[in-house]
């Protein structure tokens, strides 16, 4: 397992929050914008393990719940679960493979958005939402966009924090 300073982890999350709250709308494509916070949580989960994945998901979700107009526990629950699940899944896969990383980002966006939809529909008792339309028009474009953004971002993070496999295991 790799190591990163908590200061670096939370600095990245703070920057992701700031971008989300200020300029992200200007890079919207066909109504979709990348989910940078989830992308960062998945990155930490893949490289730093289940404990950090869960912790960063929990903190980011809690911050999102505090800053958004949504049911209070929903984002905390979804991001913490996504962080934990991504870390557990990546433990059984070759985490250094780019394909694994991007597949995990794509699936995490799809699953977390779908979960959010079902929780919101159940809690608000709103029957006017169409899951198929939401999945096709919102979830898939967001997942593709987030995955596309994660390609250069992950490469940069790996280089920046030297998260490469050491020679000792060879």
């Amino acid at each position: 397992m790799y190591k990163m300073k908590r200061l670096h982890i939370y600095s990245i999350l703070v920057v992701a929050f700031l971008i989300h709250m200020t300029v992200l709308n200007y890079i919207e494509i066909a109504g979709a914008k990348p989910d940078l916070i989830l992308m960062c949580v998945i990155f930490f989960a893949i490289f730093l393990g289940p404990a950090i994945g869960f912790e960063t998901g929990l903190v980011a979700g809690l911050a999102q719940d505090l800053l958004t107009f949504d049911y209070f526990w929903v984002n905390t629950f979804i991001l913490a679960s996504a962080g934990l699940a991504a870390a557990i899944v990546s433990d059984n896969l070759f985490r250094e493979s780019r394909a694994t990383q991007f597949l995990l980002v794509f699936l995490s966006v799809c699953l977390s958005s779908s979960l959010h939809f079902f929780i919101f529909s159940a809690v608000s008792k709103n029957s006017n939402f169409n899951f198929y339309g939401f999945f096709l028009n919102s979830v898939i474009p967001t997942a593709i966009y987030t995955t596309a953004v994660s390609i250069p971002v992950f490469i940069r993070f790996i280089d920046m924090f030297k998260l490469r496999e050491q020679d000792e295991f060879l």
Binding site: T22, G31, T68, F120
Partner: protein
Amino acid sequence: MHNRKSHILKVAAIIILLFVVFINSKSLNNPIRLKLLDSSGILLEPFKAVADFIHAITPYSSLQKENELLRNRINLLSRKLEEAKGIYIENQRLKVILDFKKSISYTVVPSQVIGRDPSNWSNTLIIDKGSINGVEQNKAVISPRGVVGRVVEVGRYSSRILLITDPSSKVGVLVQRNRQGGILVGMPDGKCKMIYIALDSDVMPGDKVITAGSGAVFPKDLLVGQVAQVGKEPGLLYKYAIVKTAEDLSRLEEVLCTK
């Protein structure tokens, strides 16, 4: 020996002198002179290029400095031009807001959008005006183009606006053409849907949707958007219409909070 040499030199000098006089004579149009002219031209041409080059590079260092100076000035002017363009666009926007403010009967607080929701699910804005500026909770937020949303949280110096595209938002609306009523709800994909439209209603794409003014939040007859698509959910006793908002809510920079 010495005399002989001096004689030869004298004779040679005389011959050269005669030759020079001969070829310089304007009245004589001799072929030797023309040949010499041609050959000197060929010989001089490369020297001319070298002379030109030397002439060109002599003030090089001063030209370089001047070039750098001019480049810096161009950069400065380009930056100023961009700033001026931004100010011009902002000025146009504020002018529209000012004209709109004069044309409406209720009091509004012009505010600037300073932040957005950090999650992809909710659609809210943070504005730079709060209770100290007279912003009140559950009041409509509009723009010159149409309805934006309502105030849901009011701080002392900033407030949160729930956009009409948020899944928690509900607004009573009418189709302007036939006064058909309905409820406008936000969708998780950032669109708006008008629900509870009677089955026999002839709502069609292109119809304008306005506020009904039935609640205490939104004033009557404010433009919300245009019907983009009409449909019927299976198993439900009413039609729905997808509404394209009049204002581009993802690019909003200034809004007006009603009082």
